[in-house]
């Protein structure tokens, strides 16, 4: 910030055609003031730069006027005509600097309309956050050091693209919903009546809301009973006592006693009988299943003949007694119901303190769901269409006569024979083995010679040394050559490059491997700023682009040097890594050149919007 203010003679025009009111234009850091020469004139202006979002200026040309147009974000614009271009240019530069975010200030210019002006210093909280981020992330720190300290980018630009990192309010909020617990805590089986009472009291006194939610979610009949009975007919305490007594009765596995008690006490009956809401829901769900699904059943699916997989609550002595059917409840059913509820997810927040409100909330939810389902008549239509079309099931059709052609498949050995010959041929080995040895061998002789060798070695023992040193050296050399030859590294794993196989020291020695891969992050950062500065409208952007371009050319030069200094063997993989980087940089440079050309030619052609 070199100047604190600029004072020039200018004419204020409300539009281009306006001859203009002569006066003095004073530009300070935060505002500009126009005082007309004529004290009676009403064309006084006092506008803060906060509201100015851009400026336009006419090109320098001998016959044209020197105009500067300051645009406000509300649409109004202020046009000033200057006596000379140099005056206009001075004002223009001042305006540019005033509008653009100053080097040490906070957010970008667009934030000017909200809150305090951007020329204020950074708040300490902001600085703290930045410093912490830099300490935590070393890569970020490296980039920061390279560019901001090196003068290529300003602080504001660097952090402008990282607003998300700085805003810790957003990051602390977890995006995940906590689900329901999957354990069935309240499948407690009271072993005596007294214990049932004890549990009921504990339940009530602690008002365990998530337990209540679980019970209400899994047993809609209980929920309905609660809504109906409490507090009209009985207190909450009584309700829960009855509920736990019912649980106790279930646990005794005495159906007869359960039926007897149910007959006496109406409310108890609700808890003992099967949940009819669930039953109707299940029926509805079954109706929605697509009957055209082809599901083949096999023996493994036959669970109907096993008595509840051994988990039955009731030792059914008299299984045909239908009057007690109503009171049977199996563990499997409870388990399934619980699983279904957990998978549905948490539909009600735990914050509701009152049991009653929880019950009501759950009921409301279920009603909404059923209303949605009922309105899906279109879906029903579609389904019934599908059903009628698929009425013809294939396995119920009569056999259609196909002429069956007999299959004659040749011996696979013939195929293999040729395969093997080909495979051997391609390996480039001479076919000495299979072709030449056509001599007729006597079995006896062959076996005999084998046995002789064995007894020979038995007598001789192992030779000392096993392998002669010259031979050993030859073998070693051959193997080492083979292992180190990079040709043989193809084929196995396309992602594993040769470079990964080298020990770290060699890598760094040979090609500054780590350096090359790190350059990528720097290049990306630079490119991001480069491309975001186009199209160049202000001098500020112009300067920025130039700085960024210089940094990019330096990196480009470094990459070229690496490529040329690398050894023969590794040239290919290295160039594979380096190439996308150079391509991106080349594209950026090309764009820069083209734009530069365009701008230099455009300045000769038409003026910048001003007639």
């Amino acid at each position: 910030m070199t100047e604190r203010q600029v004072i020039k003679r200018a004419k204020y025009k409300s539009s281009i055609k306006d001859p203009g009111t002569p006066g003095v234009l004073t530009m300070k850091r935060e505002r500009f003031v126009f005082m007309p020469s004529d004290p009676r004139s009403l064309m006084k202006l006092n506008v803060e730069f906060r509201f100015i979002i851009g400026h336009k200026f006419s090109k320098e040309a001998p016959n044209k006027k020197a105009l500067l147009n300051l645009t406000q974000d509300k649409g109004e614009s202020y046009i000033f005509e200057f006596d000379s271009f140099s005056d206009r240019d001075a004002c223009r530069d001042f305006v540019a600097m005033a509008i653009a975010p100053p080097a040490n200030a906070g957010k970008a210019a667009s934030d000017k309309s909200t809150g305090p002006p951007s020329t204020e210093q950074l708040s300490t909280a902001e600085m703290d956050r930045r410093i912490k981020l830099l300490q935590v992330d070393s890569e970020l720190q490296k980039l920061h050091k390279e560019f901001v300290m090196g003068g290529v980018l300003t602080e504001a630009e660097f952090w402008a693209t990282r607003k998300k990192l700085l805003d810790d309010k957003i990051s602390s909020k977890s995006k995940q919903r906590v689900g329901l617990k999957s354990d069935m805590i309240f499948n407690v089986k009271p072993s005596s009546d007294g214990q049932a009472l004890h549990i009921a009291h504990k339940f009530i006194s602690h008002a365990l809301s998530h337990a209540v939610i679980q019970i209400f979610a899994e047993k809609p009949a209980v929920r309905r009973a609660y809504l109906n009975l409490v507090p009209k007919k009985m207190t909450e305490t009584d309700f829960w006592i009855k509920y736990w007594r019912a649980e106790y009765l279930h646990s005794t596995k005495n159906i007869v006693a359960a039926a007897a008690e149910a007959a006496e006490d109406e409310e108890l009956a609700v808890f003992l009988k099967k949940d009819d809401i669930l039953a109707s829901e299940a029926r509805r769900k079954i109706r929605r299943v697509d009957p055209t699904l082809d599901m083949e059943a096999d023996e493994g699916d036959d669970y109907t003949h096993l008595p509840d997989h051994g988990l039955s609550r009731y030792a059914l002595k008299d299984s045909t007694d239908s009057q007690y059917d109503l009171y049977k409840r199996s563990f499997l059913q409870d388990l399934n119901r619980h699983a279904a509820v957990v998978l549905e997810g948490r539909s009600v927040d735990v914050e509701l303190g009152d049991t009653r409100s929880v019950a009501e909330a759950l009921t409301r939810l279920k009603q909404v769901e059923s209303a949605n389902e009922a309105s899906n008549t279109l879906m029903e239509q579609g389904r019934s269409d599908l059903i009628s079309r698929m009425a013809e099931l294939e396995d119920l059709q009569g056999p259609r006569d196909h002429p069956v052609a007999p299959l004659s498949i040749k011996d696979p050995r013939d195929y293999f024979d040729s395969q093997q010959a080909n495979a051997v041929k391609t390996l480039g080995e001479s076919q000495s083995g299979s072709k030449h040895m056509k001599c007729i061998l006597n079995a006896h002789e062959a076996y005999g010679s084998l046995r002789k060798s064995i007894s020979e070695i038995k007598g001789l023992g192992l030779t000392d040394p096993i392998v002669k040193p010259e031979v050993a050296i030859k073998v070693f050399n051959e193997l080492t050559r083979r292992i180190s030859n990079t040709n043989y590294h193809l084929g196995k794993d396309p992602h594993e490059s040769v470079l990964d196989g080298l020990p770290n020291v060699t890598k760094e020695e040979i090609l500054h491997y780590r350096f090359v891969s790190q350059q990528w992050t720097s290049i990306q950062e630079l490119l991001k700023h480069f491309w975001s500065s186009y199209p160049i409208t202000t001098t500020y952007l112009h300067i920025k682009v130039n700085k960024v371009k210089d940094a990019m050319s330096k990196i480009y030069q470094k990459l070229q040097d690496i490529k040329s200094s690398v050894q023969q063997d590794f040239r290919h993989p290295v160039s594979l890594i380096v190439q996308p980087m150079t391509q991106a940089l080349d594209a950026a440079f090309a764009h820069y050149e083209a734009d530069f050309q365009k701008r230099s030619t455009k300045s000769v052609e038409r003026p910048n919007g001003f007639v």
Binding site: S408, P412, Y415, F416, Q419, S453, V475, I483, G491
Partner: protein
């Protein structure tokens, strides 16, 4: 076997099952290569060195004959100071038995040895080791083979290779014969083992101890022999030449390089051209794996 404490079971305890080729026709005619006695001496020295690497290492030797296969040596059962003698004795007995089983007196060319049989024996033994409990050495198979591949064993060998792959058993192969073995190449490729064909046969021991002595744990950080690659290309049924693109019969999946009217394998006629589908089924491109 006395129970061993867990502390002694380091990462590199290995069980090596060696399949040696006992094809008399092959050994008696390999004049430029290794005589059988030398081969045995290299082998015994190698087995000793394996047993020296770790106290708990185990070695099992299975012989691949022409008419039969059999267990020759098991280091956990044999007396420790008489290893070579036990091995050689059993080998001699095996050769005798194999000779008795042979039907013909003279043979044209070199017969192939029963690779599939010995692979199956090895796999069964290893399965037994797997089921002996959680504390067992890491098994691998080393195949020292020289005889040519027998096309009749193709299906059986491929089955054993796939079951080895399933149990994650590497099959290493060291081919001593004159030509490469397609079976063993595939075996090593699929099970990620090592395939080598030594050029200097009198340095066989050096090859064995450099390439094949590494246990499974160390293979993750030791750079070993990488094979050039297996040629998986198909060959056409009419000319037996390898092709990249061809025609396939949709009934039996046999491959042809030129369009035919009738499939020569299954006899189905191509030929009723439909509106959208061409009569000679799919045009398939085989990926060349090098």
């Amino acid at each position: 076997m006395t129970p061993v404490s867990k502390k002694l079971y380091t990462d590199d305890v290995s069980l090596l099952v060696v399949l040696i080729d006992t094809n008399p026709y092959f050994w008696s005619t390999s004049n430029q290569g290794l005589p059988y006695s030398k081969f045995l001496s290299h082998l015994i020295a190698f087995l000793n060195s394996i047993l020296l690497l770790n106290q708990l290492n185990q070695v099992v030797v299975i012989a691949t004959g022409i008419n039969s296969c059999g267990h020759i040596y098991d280091s956990s059962l044999a007396p420790p100071n008489k290893r070579a003698e036990t091995l050689l004795q059993k080998l001699e007995d095996f050769v005798l038995k194999d000779e008795e089983l042979s039907a013909e007196d003279s043979v044209d060319g070199i017969k192939s040895s029963l690779l599939s049989g010995s692979l199956s024996l090895a796999l069964c033994y290893i399965q037994r080791v797997f089921r002996s409990g959680t504390l067992h050495p890491q098994p691998r198979i080393l195949c020292l083979h020289g005889s040519p591949d027998g096309p009749g064993q193709y299906v059986a060998v491929m089955n054993s290779i796939f079951s080895a792959q399933r149990s994650m058993l590497p099959i290493d192969s060291c081919v001593i014969g004159a030509q490469h073995s397609a079976f063993l190449q595939q075996a090593s490729h699929i099970t990620s083992g090592i395939y080598a064909k030594p050029q200097q046969l009198d340095g066989l021991f050096q090859y064995l101890s450099t390439l094949f002595a590494t246990d499974l744990h160390s293979r993750s950080f030791i750079q070993l022999h990488k094979s050039v690659g297996v040629d998986f290309r198909a060959s056409c049924f009419c000319h037996k030449s390898t092709i990249d693109m061809g025609y396939i019969c949709s009934v039996c999946l046999s491959i042809f390089c030129k369009p035919h009217k009738k499939c020569s394998t299954c006899g189905s006629t191509f030929g009723q051209p439909q509106a959208t589908v061409s009569s000679t089924s799919n045009l398939k491109r085989k990926a060349v794996d090098t």
